[in-house]
Every structure is written in C-alpha cells, then in structure tokens.
C-alpha cells in the first residue's frame, strides 16, 4: 500500500487543510507536515526499490471498471521511482517557498497538495486510463492556483495552460482507446506493463497515428517547440510555488510519458520518427536559448531556459531511436537524469527568483542590480542554480548533459554539436543575468531589502542538496534509472546500461 499512501496522503492532507486551516499558521503547518511526510515516504520508496531485482515493484492491482478492463494499477520501476522522489522533494520546497501566502491560505495549500497528489499519480500509474485520470486531474489545481494567486495576466495564462494541456490530452485519450480496441478480444488491456514489448502492428488506424496522439500530449507538456508558447505565460503569472512545481515536475510528466509510452510501447514508430525528433530537439535547444537572451523578466528567462533544457531530453530519447550506438543507453540514461536534475535546478532558480520578486516587487532585469550586496544568501542560491543550470562539473546538471552528449554524438553528430552550443549559450545568459541582477554596483534603491529568512534558506537547501549529491555521486540515480531504461532499450534491440 506504499504507493497508494504516497498518492493519497496529500489528498487527505488537502481535505484537512481546507477544513482546519482557518489561519495562515495552521494551514501552513498542516501542509508542511504533509509534505515532509510525503518526502519521507518517497525517500522510503526510493531506498526500498530493489535495483538488483529490477522490474516493477510495490505493485497494487485492483479492478476499477471491469467492463473495460480498467484497473487501479500502481507500480514503480527504475524510471519512475526517481520521479516520485523528485515530486516529494519539490512538494516540500513548494510549501516552504509559499510560507508567506496570506490570501485564503487554506484553499491555496489545498490546491498545492492536490497538485502534488495528481502528479504523484501520473508517475505511479501503470494503467493507461488511470494515468490519464491523474494527468487531467492536475489541470484543476493548476488552473485555480495560477488564476487566483497569480500575478499579471493570470486569467489569460491559466486558461491558456488549461486549453493547451487539455488539447494535448484529447489526442492522448483517443490514442489510448484506439490502442485498446485494436487488440483482439480477450487480450484487451490498458496495463502498460502488459503492453510493453507487444507487437503494435495491425491497429485500427495506422500505428503512427496512435503514436502521434501520445506524442502531441507529451510534446505540449515537455514542452517541445513549437508547442511551448503556454509555458512562459504560465510561469510568469504563476505564484512562485506553482512555478517551482511546474518547472520541477509538471514538465517532467511530458518527458516521462515520452520515455514510458512513446519509447516504451512504440519503439518502431519512435525509430521512424527519430530524425525528426532530433531536429525538433535542436530547434528547441537553440530557439529556447536565443529567446532567453532577449528576456527582461527573470521568470520568463527561466521559463525559456526550460524549453532549451528540455530539448536535451528530447535529443537523448531521439538518439536511442535513431539506430543507437554502444553508448546509446548512456544517452537515454542522461535524458532521464536531465528530467530529475532539471527539476531540482530550475526549481531552485524559480525559488530564488520568487524570493527576489517577493522583496523587490519586480522581476525586470534592467531595474535590478547589485543584489548580492543586500541579499548574499539569495545570491548564493542563484549562483548555485545558475551554475548547475549551465552544467558546471560537481553539479547534477553537468552529469545529465554529459551523459546525453556522450550517448547522442555517434548517432546524431551534427545535432549534438549544435545542441552542445546550447550549453555555451546557457553559460552566456546565466552569467549575464547574474551579472545584471546580482553583481555590479550597489543600488541604493534596494538597500532596505532583507536577505533570506531561515525558511527561505530551508527551501533553497531542499533543492541544493540533491543538486550536489547527484553531481558528486551520480551513481545513486544512474543505477536506478538504468534498471528502468533497460526494458526500453530492449524494445529497440539495444543492449542495456549494464551490458
């Protein structure tokens, strides 16, 4: 029952917060206890996952709608258990960073907890319909969080987010149903574990269309160029904690789906599509990076850098499908690593940006400057996140990107070279931004600003710790991911990480 507990603990806590969290103190206390408990549970799951045995563990299987073989089926494997942990980490960071929310705190924390539960559900569902239910469920808290506690054009952004995701998932649902009814009577199932390795030819419609249905949904979420335009708006207008969750785990749902479903269930179609995917990846990396340069809003900047960094994930996945090489498993492992590391790094960037905005009430880069003088701790957090984001060795960002480039170079040499240029651009925009906001002469206007309080430091530390742990000892993650991606590699006829 470990996984069910992980999924439903935040929901129970959400009900409690709504009912009991009349005051800000009470609401945030309940929420904090819930997310700390949740982090403990996810750490437990991560530690208890047996990498020697591999495969799917902690399986919970019940009939839900037996008429259509829809099951309540939870399980984790090496691919999902780190994502579960990531969601646990970011949930804590999100609550800590919302410590000062005063407006309707009980509703705010309720939605935040529901959001965490929904994302958790996505990562542990092994039944396609259940996966979809959680995928859709996440829309509601996001809509309310952005539109009620956001800033700027929050209504527009919330609606845009909703419609984009809903549109993507519309295609996904059709793809799922088509897949189900294409199977011969008696073998029909939505069970992802059972569908892995199955021959996907002879569906009701050309298999490519089913593949495309899933791809569109995940490409919107990841997001891939040109389906990314909702992201900067949503990020910019969302409250800090929601930006953290959005960058930290929601985008990862897209990458996770690509790995789990597109690569896992449809290796043949993925192979056909590999070159196109590589091109999209490079465009995402470079386009994202160039657009970052032009941004004057800190949040928009981080948002576009996400588009760029998620391009690396796409590239890593494409390389495996593109014929593969001896190092392909490394590339795929890197893509999975990038999902995790980007979650913590960009989460941290948004935390820092949120802290700056909370104090200066502006995110306009030209207005800022010399903030390291007034808020040294926040500046340290910013620099750690920034350097990790540009892939400095000893941080987790370096590990992920190195693995991706190692894996992809022999398959898509030119694409890798171009994408690697994205790292150079990242170094440019990160350092340039740091210079314009943190360094330079002291600005008298900001003299009254305070540095991070203990709770803010805690929020930063929650994310800094995994950045360095994974950066210094990547094996803690790569070993687990390797177990998860081996079956996917097998689908492409490639040897796994171990061999």
């Amino acid at each position: 029952m470990l996984l069910s507990t992980i999924v439903f603990l935040p929901i129970v806590a959400a009900v409690l917060v709504l009912a009991l969290g009349r005051t800000q103190q009470m609401a945030r206390l309940i929420a904090l206890i819930a997310v700390v408990g949740e982090l403990a549970l996810t750490l437990m799951a991560f530690a208890a996952y047996d990498t020697d045995a591999g495969g799917y563990q902690f399986v919970e299987r019940f009939d839900w709608i037996s008429a259509f073989d829809i099951q309540y089926l939870l399980a984790v494997d090496g691919l999902s258990v780190p994502m579960v942990l990531l969601n646990g980490i970011l949930g804590l960071a999100a609550v800590l960073v919302s410590w000062n929310v005063k407006e309707r705190p009980n509703q705010y924390y309720m939605w935040l907890l529901v959001l965490q539960a929904a994302v958790m559900g996505v990562f542990v569902s092994m039944d396609l319909i259940l996966f979809f239910v959680f995928w859709e469920l996440e829309l509601v808290p996001m809509f309310f969080l952005i539109s009620l506690w956001g800033t700027g054009r929050r209504e527009y952004s919330a609606m845009k987010f909703l419609i984009y995701t809903f549109l993507g998932s519309a295609f996904m649902l059709t793809a799922m149903l088509t897949l189900y009814f294409s199977l011969p009577d008696g073998e029909r199932t939505f069970d992802i574990m059972a569908l892995m390795g199955r021959d996907m030819s002879g569906l009701l419609v050309p298999t490519g269309l089913v593949f495309a249905g899933f791809l569109i949904a995940f490409a919107v979420k990841l997001p891939m160029f040109p389906l990314h335009t909702w992201l900067p708006d949503a990020h910019t207008d969302a409250p800090t904690a929601v930006s953290v969750m959005l960058a930290g785990v929601l985008l990862k749902m897209g990458g996770y789906g690509l790995l789990r479903i597109n690569a896992g269930l449809f290796p043949e179609q993925m192979t056909d599509f590999a070159s196109t995917l590589a091109v999209i990846a490079v465009v995402s990396v470079l386009y994202g990076a160039f657009i970052v340069m032009r941004q004057t809003d800190l949040k928009r900047m981080v948002a576009y850098s996400s588009v760029s960094h998620m391009g690396f994930v796409t590239l890593g996945i494409a390389s495996v499908a593109g014929g593969g090489s001896a190092l392909s498993s490394v590339g795929l492992n890197g893509a999975a690593m990038q999902l995790f590391t980007h979650g913590t790094i960009t989460g941290l960037l948004f935390v820092v940006v949120g802290l700056i905005y909370e104090r200066a009430h502006t995110r306009h880069i030209p207005d800022l400057g010399g903030l390291a003088k007034q808020m040294p701790l926040i500046a340290v957090g910013f620099m750690i996140a920034g350097l990790a984001s540009l892939g400095l060795p000893t941080t987790s960002g370096f590990v992920a990107e190195l693995l991706i480039f190692l894996g992809t170079f022999q398959v898509f040499g030119l694409a890798t070279a171009l994408a690697a240029f994205g790292v150079v651009l990242a170094a440019g925009y990160i350092l340039w931004t740091a210079q314009r906001t943190l360094f330079g002469p002291r600005v008298a206007r900001w003299d009254g600003l305070t540095d991070a309080r203990p709770v803010d430091v805690a929020a930063m530390l929650v994310l800094i710790i995994p950045i360095f742990v994974v950066g210094l000892y990547p094996k803690v993650l790569t070993d687990v991911f390797a177990v998860g991606i081996d079956p996917i590699m097998a689908g492409f006829g490639l040897a796994g990480f171990g061999g």
Binding site: I65, E136, S147, L148, I163, L167, A170, F171, T174, T178
Partner: protein
Amino acid sequence: MNIGARDLFLISPELLLVTLAVVVVALDLVIRRKGIVIAVAVVGLLVPAIAGVNVWNDIHATGVDTAFNGALVVDEFALYFKFLTLAVLALLFLSSADYASRFQPFQAEFYGLLLFSSAGLMLLPAAGDLITVYISLELASLPVIALAAYEKMRLKSTEAGLKYLVLSAVSSAVLLYGFAFLYGATGTLRLISFDPADPAIGHMLINGDPSVPFGGVAVMVGVVLATAGFGFKLSMVPFQMWTPDVYEGAPTPVAAYLAVASKAAAFAVVLRLFYAGLDPAAADWSLMFAVLAAITMTVGNVVAIAQTNVKRLLGYSAIAQAGYMLVGVAAYVGSGPDAELGIESVLFYLGGYAAMNLTAFFVIMAITNRTGDDSIEGLAGLGKRAPILAVLLALALLGLTGIPPTVGFVGKLFLFNAAINADMVWLAVVGVLNSVVSAYYYVGVVRVMYLRESDNPARITVPPYAWAALAVTAAAILVLGLWPGGLLEVARQAALDLL
C-alpha cells in the same frame, strides 16, 4: 382487445403517477398550507417508484413482457428510463419548491402538469409500436407548452411557450409523416414483436416484401423524417434553434426538466426505434447519426462560447451534450460481443448528465431566485457570497467538460469507447476536440465565479430541501465518477434488452 390485470400491473407506475397528479391538484383545493402539497408530491413519487420496483422484479425474473397487445414493451431498458424520470422529478420538486412559490395560486397545477408530462416520458421508452410513440410524445409535450409559459406576465416566458408549441407541432407533423412512410413501406407499426403472425418493422425490412412500392427509398425517407422529428426533442442540429430561447425564457425548473428528463426520454425512443425497430437499415442511419453528432456538438460548443446569459449557455451546452450522446447512438456494430456498447454508453451518460445538469440548474435556480439576474456576470463573486453553491456549480461544469474524477469523464470515456469500437475513430477525435472547446466556456463560468468581484455582497441562502436535492446530485457526480461500475452494469443489462 382485452385488458387484463397483467396489463394494468405493467403500467402501474404510470397509472399511479397520473393518480398522484390528480391528487396533488385536488389537495391544493382543500389544503391551505402549500408545504403539505409539495410534500405529498415528493413523497407520493415513492408510490410509482415502488410499483416500478415491483415490475422490475417481475421482469427480471420472467423476462421481457408486453402489455396491451404489444403496444407497450416493458423491459429493463424501459424501466431504466422510468426510474430516471422519477428521480429527476423528485429532485426537481425538492429544489424548485422555493422558485415555484411565485406561481401562486397555480403552484399545485405546476406540479400536476409536470407529473402528467412525466407519465408521457415514462411511457415513451416502453413504446412497442409507432402509435404509442406518437401518443406518449404528445402526452409528454403538451403540458410542457403550458409549463414553459407559466410565468405568463413575463414576456420571455410566454415567448418560450409559444415557440415550444409551434416547434412541437411542426416536429410532430414531421414525425408522423415519417411514420407514414415506414408504415407504407413495411405494412406494420410494430417496433418489436414476439408474435410471428404479427411481424415488426425490422422483420419486414429483412424479409423485404417485393410488392411494396418504393420499398427501400420509402424506408429511407421514413428514417430521415423520423430523425428530423425526434431531432427537435433531442436538440439535434439543425433542429436545435428553439433550445436556447426556450431554456432562457421558460421558468428554470421547466428548463431543467426539458434539458434532462425530456431529453433522456427522446434518446430512449430513438434508441428503441433505431436499434430495435430499424436495425436492418443501420447502414442508412448509423453514418447519418455520426455526422449529425459531429455537427451537433461542434455547433453547440462553438456558439456557447459567445453566450452571456447563463441559461442560454446551458441551452447551448445541452445541444453539445446531445451531440456527445448521439455518438453512442451512431456507434452501431450489429451483433457481437460488444454490440451493446453504444446503447450502454448513452444510458450511462444520460444518468451522469442528469446529475451534472441538474446540479447546474439547481444552483442557477437558487441564485437567480435571490438575485433575479441570470447573466453570467451575475455569478461574479459567487465564490465568496455562496462558497458551497459555487463549488457545486464548478463541480457540475467541470463534469460537463469531462474532467476526472467526475462522471462526465467516465461517461465520455464510454461514449468514445463505443465510437472506436464501431470503427469511428474520427468521431471520437471530433468528440475529444469538442471537449477542449467546451472547456473554454465551462471554465469561463468558473472563472467569473471566483475571479470577478461582485458589487452585491449579499450572501445567498438556500432552503434545506433544495440542499437535499443538491447533495444528491453532486454526490452522484463524484460517486459515479469514481465507481461507475454499478450504474454501468445496470445500463448494460438494459442495453442488452434492446438487442
């Protein structure tokens, strides 16, 4: 023709319902306290319900039976709709007690007319021949004309009554014309027959009497005209024009009645006529319904976006929802293991749709009853002025959009399932894309409730009996969304009776 005790037993629910109508109207003459009259109307509904349970027990044990020489077919399919009608009626009485007090001194007649009309709606799904279809339809429609115009001092209400009168007359004429063709081509009015000496339309179509002039063409014309006739009741494009006008003008309980009970019965008779009576001609009508479904939902959803009046919005929403349900009607696959999927999904969706739509109408009724303002802007600030009503309306609207974990999601899942099972993947795609469009206006209403401030801070109070009705419908939205298995099984058994 002999009328035996058995015949009377089989229509005992309807007989008791009509008796109740007479009792309610008569009581009103002698009793001063209107509360008692309402209580009698609500509690009295238990009598036909118990009779219905009796009939169900009997049918369940002995199988389908006919009454009045085959004029009525009493099977689980018909009983499903009888119970649905009774439930809707009871909820409607409870929730509208406040609203209906404005009809004094004709309040009891209001209930009486609803009861008479419901008797027609209950007979309709049981119709065994075309004559019964027509008579039941008229019995159901005529009281509604008076009901729509019940607020006779209000111009829009009388307009609604007149519109419904004219359109009912036209649609009845078209329907009769279609029936005439079917009768001319086949020589029988029977939809279902268990007596070989008295064959039904379906048998005649299969056996194809060559002496019938214009055989095939006449059947087709009959099918098209009958579809047009029912199209009015279903709010199917291009016969949907009256819907928003009548919903807006008619008293809100009457609009709710039309949107839920009347539409359900219309779907019942369409399913009966086409699946049981005209299934040999399925090649003619299946694709026709598929195209009509696609057009209906698209028109409903697109036009709904521009609405500013919440009752009109629900009118267009009802058109769109009819489009979704027509998907199930179109999903004909002949015989086979999954042949009942289409009917089953329509029946299930009607149940869920009743819960969602009634919730929405009840909330609107409670609000407009206090504020007198039925514009969407009038719902501004509802999140603060009436937090529970706002949550319930949001739940209903998210359900109508099809977001889990509501019954709207599983309902649509089943409908699109049926479409894909019938090899109509394109129709499922049109359906899911329409859900995306609908998200814009459904969520738009939610947005107004929570994000717009109101200049009228008065809290909205709701009487306890209306709360009871709302609690039932709202609970149904969630319970059926999370545990759809029970209702689905009932719907499946009912659907199997048609095949």
